[in-house]
Amino acid sequence: MENQEFEPKIVAFVCNWCTYAGADLTGTSRIKYGANVKIIRFPCTGRIDFMLLMKAFENGADGIIISGCHPNDCHYSTGNFHARRRWVVFRNLLNFSGIDTERIQFSWVSAAEGFKWADVVNNTIEKVRALGPYENYKKINVPTLFAKEDNNE
């Protein structure tokens, strides 16, 4: 029952030239999607530092969307190819460390794909909602820092 109430927090890391523009088109076309997703604009997927993804989970994100230009369409010609390689490696590392890669959705959304963006967002919301809140991080983050009781060894 609780999960039905649960509205996941999702951060979208997107490139300026394709997905951000695609999301603009979603807006211009008045296609609706969930308000859970908030977009952070990067110049290129190649700029997206894996540390930022880690920080997102640490600070309470339940899901992450990373999206950029389709291969060969990168505004900077190759940024997304480099990003893709890093994702392959990073996903592997996260998975190995027990971090749920199901909560990270990678996608290519072009400036023309307003519908696709809405789909990606809505599907991700559904998926993450089904997975529930990301409790693992919440357990290790909050108590160490801000709890009032003495947690030292």
Binding site: A35, P43, H82, A118
Partner: protein, 666 residues
């Protein structure tokens, strides 16, 4: 803290219909560092902008967040407004609460809350913004045009006519390119040389154009506006200043049986030669590989006969270094090599030729003076089979693309043949006829209807010789794949247009990217068709992909305009969104470790090496440095750098980190 002003736009009803703008403005006023916040009907309107400007002055704002539409729409507008109020424009950021919020969500608390989240995120970002200055790069107003084909000629003339200096570099002894080899051109059937040669001469005579033929690009360094280019002028063994172009040497040269490249091997030339009579410059070069003197040590006939003593056997290649602000690459294309078609017997049967060879046969200045005669015995062929898509659209041959020009020139060839051999029968095997273009379809129609060309839709499986005839065996797919066999006197292959054999090497020298077929890649296939991903280097003509003459010329003029536009200012102003490698006082110098893993990741070769030297000139450290002229600000290096020694202005680590923190906390 910083003094941030937040301006929430209603965008008429576009935002306020679903977002409670007043509430967003009020709540953002409670954010740390926000000293002023308000909402307004239309922020982008004149009164809206005035509102911002006045608030900046009144509340001494040093940061501005406009919560409105997409920054892709109005960021320049608001930055300009802030700049007019005396603020650094790069301290203004936009929160997109229209496209990413009000338009995609229903009217609800959540939608308003989301707008608030977006504003808070951008407020935290803008607090970490640093004042930036637009980057100014001086421009050397000289363009280098690489390749002297029709595209290069057009481009060079256009740029030169705008009043800028042009250096044209041509690999061959003469400019003119493939177009000078053509007989007539489709769809007008006007004489190729008649329209081209006057322009070739114009290039040679233009006061703004310096022409280097028999020359190649050795290296390219620098960046837009400031290229340093080394050109290798291959030795012509000739003092060009003395040579009058009388041609005596070429007639006296004892080596006369060298296959002439210009005639595609259908004619011969001498070792000292001018490629074709209308060559520009019309001065010979010595082909050292075929010259008796260079190969055997004796001869020097040309030297003896030269009335002005212009022959220089000891002349060496010369490297000249020039500075240029832009480069236009017009290196053209090549035709697929014959060994690609063992099944068509090219190279095995003399009467199987390619399209360019047919052009030479049909050319009035060609080896047969324009008569269509078989290379084997000089007979006039009565039946010619033209095979379109010889290599093109054939994944098995590794060429998946359509060479685009073959349909048209094959129709032209059939027409020319029919016009010259009235009782001849042209057959064309084709896959599809692609005749998009002004008067193109009509042209093909004419070949079929008026000139009675037999078009057979199907592929040719093999060509072989039987009783002195070339048997072309194929299938007619319109007749239910019925086998067809034609006894032909001659076969012409519309060989695929391919990239030049040295295009990959050149691309690497120019630092431009190229596709799987080694054609040069444009920066954007639609919106930047003549730009490359390296700023200041442009493309035109068939070096990008097979193109016909009008297209090449149009692209060449397009590239010329890009160059002229670049040269219209003495400085280039660029957005300061560029990466930078940090620098610190000695003994640290930088956190950069000099691993240079970033070097290869940069799409623009903007990462350079800087050597830090001690007082005695010993290198103590080698650090990465970003060339601001080349950097386009993608930030791929920033995310790669392990020590975070590189940061991207406008999207810095601090800014992005703050955004993530602000978005998720609260």
């Amino acid at each position: 803290m910083a003094r941030v002003g937040v301006f929430v736009c209603h965008c008429g009803e576009n935002i306020s219909a679903t977002v409670d703008c007043e509430k967003v403005a009020k709540e953002s006023g409670d954010l740390n560092s926000v000293v002023f916040s308000t909402d307004y009907k239309y922020m982008c309107s004149d009164p809206g902008q005035t509102l911002i400007k006045e608030a900046i002055k009144e509340h001494k704002l040093d940061r501005v967040v406009v919560a409105a539409c997409s920054p892709r729409m109005h960021e320049p507008t608001f930055r300009k407004a802030c700049s007019e109020a005396g603020m650094n424009p790069y301290l203004c950021e936009m929160a997109n609460i229209r496209e990413h919020c009000s338009w995609v969500h229903p009217k609800s608390e959540e939608t308003t809350a989301k707008a608030g989240d977006l504003v808070r995120t951008i407020v935290e970002k803008v607090k970490k913004n640093k004042p930036l200055q637009a980057i100014k790069v001086p421009i050397t107003k000289t363009a280098i045009v690489i390749g002297g084909g029709v595209a290069g000629i057009q481009s060079a003339l256009d740029i030169a006519n705008c009043g800028h200096k042009v250096i044209m570099v041509e690999k061959q002894p003469s400019i003119g390119g493939h177009m000078s080899q053509l007989s007539e051109t489709f769809p007008t059937l006007d004489c190729s040389q008649c329209i081209l040669t006057p322009r070739m001469v114009e290039v040679a005579q233009h006061p703004n154009i310096t022409l280097y033929t028999y020359a190649e690009i050795e290296s390219v360094d620098g960046f837009i506006g400031n290229f340093k280019v080394k050109i290798r002028r291959k030795s012509k063994s000739l003092d060009e200043n003395l040579c009058t172009g009388c041609g005596l040497c070429t007639t006296k040269c004892p080596k006369k049986k060298i296959p002439n490249e210009f005639e595609r091997g259908l004619g011969n030339r001498t070792a000292i030669y001018v490629p074709f009579p209308q060559a520009v410059p019309n001065k010979p070069v010595i082909d050292r590989e075929n010259c008796n003197y260079y190969q055997k040590g004796t001869c020097k006939v040309c030297e003896k006969v030269c009335p002005v003593q212009a022959i220089r056997f000891d002349q060496e290649d010369q490297i000249i270094e020039v500075e240029a602000g832009a480069l236009v690459v017009c290196t053209g294309f090549d035709v697929l090599k014959p060994n690609f078609f063992p099944e068509y017997g090219y190279g095995k049967y003399k009467d199987v030729i390619d399209g360019l060879q047919f052009e030479r046969l049909a050319s009035a200045s060609g080896p047969t003076k324009g008569e269509i005669r078989r290379p084997s015995d000089g007979e006039i062929p009565k039946k010619i089979v033209f095979i379109a898509c010889a290599g093109s659209r054939d994944p098995a041959k590794g060429i998946e693309y359509c060479s685009k020009i073959c349909c048209m020139y094959t129709a032209k060839h059939a027409m020319l043949y029919k016009h010259k051999v009235h009782d001849g029968t042209p057959y064309v095997f084709y896959m599809d006829i692609r005749a998009g273009g002004k008067m193109y379809e009509e042209f093909v129609r004419r070949a079929i209807v008026e000139d009675d060309t037999k078009y057979i839709r199907g592929r040719v499986s093999t060509v072989f010789e039987r009783n002195g005839k070339l048997i072309v065996r194929g299938a007619d797919t319109l007749m239910g794949a019925q086998p067809v066999e034609i006894e032909a006197d001659m076969v012409v292959l519309a060989s695929a247009g391919v990239s030049n054999p040295d295009s990959e090497e050149l691309a690497q020298r120019l630092h431009v990217s190229y596709d799987a077929y080694k054609f040069f890649a444009e920066a954007h296939p639609k919106l930047k068709p003549v730009e490359t991903n390296t700023a200041g280097i442009f493309l035109a003509g068939a070096c990008q992909a097979p193109k016909d003459i009008p297209e090449s010329v149009a692209a060449a003029s397009g590239a010329a305009v890009k160059v002229a536009a670049l040269f219209s200012n003495s400085e280039l102003t660029r957005e300061p969104v560029v990466a930078e490698v940090n620098r610190q006082a000695p003994p640290v110098f930088s956190t950069c470790t000099g691993c240079f893993l970033c070097e290869k990741v940069c799409p623009y070769q903007a990462i350079e090496r800087e050597e830090i030297k001690d007082r005695n000139g010993n290198v103590i450290k080698t650090l990465a440095r970003i060339n601001k002229g080349l950097c386009q600000g993608c930030g791929t290096c920033v995310a790669l750098c392990r020590v975070k020694a590189i940061d991207l202005h406008g999207f810095s680590n601090q800014q992005m980190y703050s955004e993530v923190m602000a978005l998720l906390n609260f």
